[in-house]
């Protein structure tokens, strides 16, 4: 085993930005909008770097799929302590249609190519909220998956994962190699330090295309329309409780 961890990072619209839909309802406005690393991806990078600092793994390789700007996100990860980056170039229409299935095919191909011990991803991206890439990657590789991880510990060649589930916490032990997806409470991502930002400049980022990995990124999905959530309508005042019941029945609520 290489002791190598592959971390996927996605460049998304910054969480604090007010999202606007394009007038033609085709998609969300991204031009000139502030972007940053998906917060769950930051947590994934932090976990990998912590594992390296504890000498549990040897190398952290960070991957991002997208146009030229994806390099910024990779650099941020390098400044946090990742060792090298891989930029899988996807541009234009291909990028607009890039979804979890294609990304998971790319991640699976890279996991095999890099002989990865672990693939760590954020549990979901805050733009599409798909929560699929980790699971699909594991399925394509036929590897175990520890999703919604809030705690990780290596135990020999197995990995113990505490998962956040609806009913509380579930602890599982899975074989490596494995895919992990990071949940909110896994860790608190560090700030990059000024010296690390400068060191990051010297770290290598390899460039490749999906075709180089033998991956077909044709999308099977077509986005028909994007709308803002419906505006909240004014409420209606009623005079009596009977009125209220009648109105609720009318609206089919009871």
């Amino acid at each position: 085993m290489s002791g190598r961890v592959l971390v996927g990072v996605k460049r998304v619209i910054d969480y604090a930005v007010k999202i606007r839909v394009k007038p033609d309802n085709s998609c969300v406005v991204t031009d000139g909008v502030k972007h940053s690393m998906n917060p769950f991806c930051e947590i994934a990078v932090e976990e990998a770097v912590k594992m390296k600092e504890k000498k549990l793994i040897k190398e952290v390789v960070v991957v991002s799929c997208g146009p030229q700007q994806a390099m910024e996100t990779i650099r941020t990860a390098l400044a946090m302590g990742a060792d090298r980056g891989i930029h899988v170039e996807v541009t234009g229409k291909d990028y607009e249609n890039l979804g979890p299935l294609q990304v998971s095919k790319i991640m699976a191909a890279l996991a095999k190519k890099e002989d990865a011990l672990l693939v760590i991803l954020g549990k979901q991206a805050i733009d599409d909220d798909c929560n699929q890439t980790g699971q699909m990657t594991a399925a394509l590789l036929d590897w175990p998956q520890g999703t919604f991880a809030s705690e990780l510990s290596m135990e020999g060649d197995k990995i113990k994962v505490v998962r956040e589930i609806d009913g509380g916490l579930e602890t599982i032990k899975i074989n490596t190699p494995a895919v992990i997806t990071a949940d909110l409470r896994l860790n608190t991502p560090r700030y990059a330090t000024l010296p690390n930002i400068m060191k990051a400049k010297k770290k290598k980022i390899a460039n490749m295309k999906p075709a180089d990995l033998g991956v077909d990124i044709t999308s099977r999905l077509e986005v028909l329309r994007v709308d803002e959530p419906a505006q909240r309508e004014a409420g209606v005042k009623v005079e009596t409780v009977d009125d209220l019941i009648a109105r609720l029945k009318e609206a089919g609520r009871i």
Partner: protein
Amino acid sequence: MATVGPLARIARLGSSICRNHRLSFNRSTQRRGIASCVDPSHGLTDEQKEFQKMAFDFATNEMAPHMSEWDQKEIFPVETMRKAAQLGFGGIYVQPEVGGSGLSRLDTSIIFEALSTGCVSTTAYISIHNMCAWMIDTFGNNEQRERFCPDLCLMDKFASYCLTEPGSGSDAASLLTTAQLKGDHYIVNGSKAFISGGGDTDVYIVMCRTGGKGPKGISCLVVEKGTPGLSFGKKEKKVGWNSQPTRAVIFEDCAVPVINRLGEEGQGFNMAMRGLNGGRINIASCSLGAAHASVQLARDHLLYLQFKLAEMATKLVASRLMVREAATALQENRSDAVSLCSMAKLFATDECFNICNDALQMHGGYGYLKDYAVQQFVRDIRVHQILEGTNEVMRMIISRNLLTES
């Protein structure tokens, strides 16, 4: 967060008063909005954008939530500043071999501008600390650099810059604090006024008179806290800059070892002025940050104040361009560097104060309440037009340059 409680109370008072309540939410979520003409990352290199992003994140998460409390309770946020130092903010333009980050003046300006959006007063102190660390790094010998700089860069020790006296502010060269050589010590007598950090800091960069009258008689000594004869006045009550204590620094037969003198006798005034060139860019950068934050806060009053906002945005960008140009000129040691630093300080501190003041006005009555951040920006940057050389002194420097034929 301090702003949410009172505004919930205000919100319940009735719809007519509710109109402005979104402002605090904006401040508390640090709305970065859709990138616009005032985005401070325009024109920066990728690396500078990384520094800036990191500084903004630090300001948003570690400083902004406490800015009001630090102001109201007059807390000197040592732990937060130490966290900042661990990220490399303790000696931004100090050489790496003594623990600094070795960045340029422009990088520094960008960082202070970003940090200032979290708390002007604390960032301004960090910039003063940086100026002191730089002076030792630049003018000290290797022994002095190794003795002081590593601790300063990590903020294990804090520094203060002591030039102004009760009797000499703008006329700094007329300072009266004396340092008489006796064997291997200088005996220092006199007092310094308005010293930022005074009493709470560990290392004092003191300009004092070792020779005759005027600038050529001034030397620069590093005085450490705990030296017998070093004492402090009462903590001043100020309108702003409340997260840093300001006190008089008093020397009564204070014996300072000769090995603590930076450079040669008579070079002190020159060192002080060179320190201030950079200091002025830093202070102007802090004003930029405050103005930027204030413009963001005022943005939601777009209705009938669009044109006012446009003017504010224009002046902010103009100020930023001046400051960054001055930083580049200083870094490159250009012949116009000193004038540019003075112009940038004059222009940016004046314009940014007006921007913050206008932003306060746009908030209406709410702008006057301490529950809202905009008043703290106004109070904190008001002093930037006064210290590190009053804006009148800046005019003097510029006119002297203009009227001297070369």
